[in-house]
């Protein structure tokens, strides 16, 4: 009797029980403590299987093998256009390549954009070549329910092991579902998959899609295509950038690549508008201290302009414009202002954000910043100095400079 009851409970969770049988089962559960206990045990067992499945990852090799077999079975080898998401390794390599290229072009802005464009194309090529790390989009998944062979083999796999694929969008996760549970696959399991034997003894089930709550597909990446993008839950972002550029008017050589560093922390007021704070260690052209000497009976005051490394604290607002040209990316426009020791800055910048993975982007922007120094002017120095002999002041007297910087680095959104 217990075995028959358990079969009914299993059938109920599998969605195979008719409404009348289901109602009867629930009635028995409500009146019998023993049956209720058995029902809850099965319920807990299902829950545990589902939770344990979330911790499982699938290596790219297994994933490739699985996809190749699925395509063969489904007789639909054509893959749809891939979503702009890389594997971690590809993302890391792409990011380093972009940073190195940006650093090498330095402050030559025209070359920056051509370089970014080239990187974009290269990244696109890498994406297509590394198909093992690419997640299949929705259209392919939607074709599966029409294939009975595909269904039956998936069910066969589910009987071998119960560990679903982790870290995939909801649509892909559904592909591995037998109706109520996620399915896991390991290498040994794949090895025994065979088309003919699995076709036998397979019975079709009515999936209960509404009961599946993997939690993976609920989160939509802000880095996906704009048309797929909805409101993101990633409200914060942090970026680390380095830069090179120039200072006008300059007394020193151009700022070399990787000379400045800045860390930014932003909050998304809305999906495409954000406000943030920034701490930067940069090279600023500022007036030095005054030295005093005498020559030919006169007093000589000297002050030179120096390129100093200082910390700055800034606030900024940015607006993002999502654009898809062959691949999705963002245009970024920002206004910022801040303080430096004995001075202040304000400026504007424009750049581009290129998604490398779900949460990581390459961020490059060209910034023009006016830097003001509060140091005394030459007139102020001379006015405040009195002597019976002439006073000679040698000072550049530059208080306002324009910094042009090409910032480039990585951005993480969370």
């Amino acid at each position: 009797m217990t075995s028959g009851l358990e079969d009914k409970i299993i059938a109920y969770f599998d969605g195979e029980l008719s409404d009348a049988d289901g109602a009867e089962l629930l009635h028995r559960v409500s009146v019998s403590p023993e049956i209720r206990t058995l029902f809850r045990e099965h319920e807990m067992l299902r829950e545990m299987a589902r939770e344990s499945a979330n911790a499982v990852t699938i290596s790219p090799e297994i994933e490739t093998s699985l996809f190749s077999r699925i395509e063969a079975l489904a007789e639909k080898p054509i893959r749809e256009k891939a979503v702009w998401v890389f594997s971690r390794r590809t993302a890391l390599v792409s990011a380093l390549a972009l940073i190195l290229i940006s650093g090498s072009v330095g402050y030559l802005v025209p070359k920056l954009f051509s370089g970014s464009s080239q990187n974009l194309q290269n990244s696109r090529s890498d994406q297509q070549n590394l198909s093992s790390s690419i997640i299949q989009p929705t259209p392919q998944v939607q074709s599966f329910p029409n294939s009975s062979a595909f269904h039956t083999n998936l069910i066969g796999i589910s009987h071998i092991s119960e560990a679903p694929r982790n870290g995939t969008p909801a649509e892909t996760n559904d592909t591995y579902s037998n109706g109520t549970e996620d399915i896991s696959v390991n290498k040994s399991d794949i090895a025994i998959i065979d088309k003919t034997p699995l076709m036998e003894g397979i019975h079709s089930v009515a999936p209960r899609m509404a009961d599946i709550h993997s939690g993976i597909g609920e989160r939509i990446s802000p880095f996906e295509r704009p048309e797929l993008q909805q409101d993101s839950r990633s409200l914060f972002e942090a970026s680390l950038q380095t830069s090179s550029g120039f200072t006008y008017p300059a007394d020193a050589s151009p700022i070399k690549p990787f000379a400045d560093q800045r860390f930014s922390f932003g909050y998304h007021i809305s999906e495409n508008n954000l406000i943030g704070i920034r701490i930067a260690s940069g090279l600023y052209q500022q007036l030095g201290s005054i030295s005093q000497s005498s020559l030919g009976g006169i007093e000589v005051l000297s002050r030179t302009i120096e390129t100093k490394r200082n910390f700055s604290e800034e606030i900024y607002v940015s607006h993002l414009i999502p654009i898809t040209i062959a691949a999705p990316f963002f245009l970024e426009f920002s206004l910022d202002g801040g303080i430096i020791p004995n001075g202040y800055t304000y400026g504007a910048e424009a750049g581009v954000r290129i998604p490398l993975s779900e949460s990581v982007m390459f961020d490059a922007a060209f910034a023009l910043t006016r830097v003001h120094s509060n140091a005394l002017t030459s007139d102020q120095i001379l006015t405040s100095t009195n002597a019976t002999t002439p006073i000679l002041l040698q000072s550049a007297d530059i208080h306002n400079t324009l910094n042009g910087r090409l910032h480039y680095g990585l951005l993480y959104r969370f």
Partner: protein
């Protein structure tokens, strides 16, 4: 979004077009001066007068220097034109003093005439830039001794404040050293000329100190 982009474009346009108003100009000292006339006395400006305070070993006096324009002697060596200035000491005319100047050189000839230089002194030589040097020699009126001088531009683009509070901008400082131990320093202001001079030469016509008091 439109407001944001408009603001960004406005800031960028202002930053680009109004670059000179946003930032300070580059130091003038970094640009060499090819025409020394701008830093020398207005010799061509007939009637222009300068008042100097002169200190010598015997005391201090006030000299009024009035430009007489081009001298009748005409062209000097090096296509330099000879100019004369009248020196007056408080209702007492001293003598004419002669100078020569072209675009690249400006020098003192002395108080004899354009054709007879006993105190040749090469004040300025183009290009005027910090570190620029030139050499000259004179007899300083002696029949037996020749002094060799080396001049060097030690500062450019400086600002000088006189004890009376007058401030001169874009000042060039030149140091003249001789093997005999003379050390003369002169300061020339752009648009004015000689504003200050100190010398260890006891026989200098301008004494040990000469300071511009005013000009008309």
């Amino acid at each position: 979004m439109k407001f944001f982009i408009a603001s960004f474009l406005f800031a960028t346009v202002c930053g680009t077009i109004g670059c000179n108003s946003l930032v300070d100009s580059a130091p003038s000292a970094s640009q060499p001066v090819l025409k020394v006339e701008d830093y020398y006395l207005p010799l061509k400006n007939i009637g222009a007068s300068f008042t100097y305070c002169r200190k010598t070993a015997t005391g201090a006096d006030t000299i009024l220097m009035t430009m007489q324009g081009q001298d009748i002697s005409g062209v000097m060596p090096g296509n330099g034109m000879c100019y004369a200035a009248d020196l007056t000491k408080t209702n007492h005319r001293l003598y004419d003093y002669y100078y020569s100047m072209n675009d690249s050189e400006a020098y003192t000839l002395g108080k004899l005439s354009c054709g007879s230089t006993e105190k040749y002194w090469l004040d300025l030589k183009a290009p005027l830039t910090v570190g620029q040097t030139w050499k000259f020699s004179n007899t300083n009126g002696s029949y037996y001794l020749t002094n060799y001088y080396t001049a060097k531009v030690s500062r450019r683009g400086a600002t000088m404040k006189m004890p009376d509070g007058t401030i001169y901008n874009d000042v060039t400082e030149v140091i003249y050293l001789s093997q005999s131990g003379d050390s003369t320093v002169k300061w020339f202001a752009k648009g004015t000329g000689l504003i200050y001079c100190t010398s260890k030469e006891p026989d200098s016509d301008f004494g040990q100190e000469m300071r511009l008091l005013g000009q008309n």
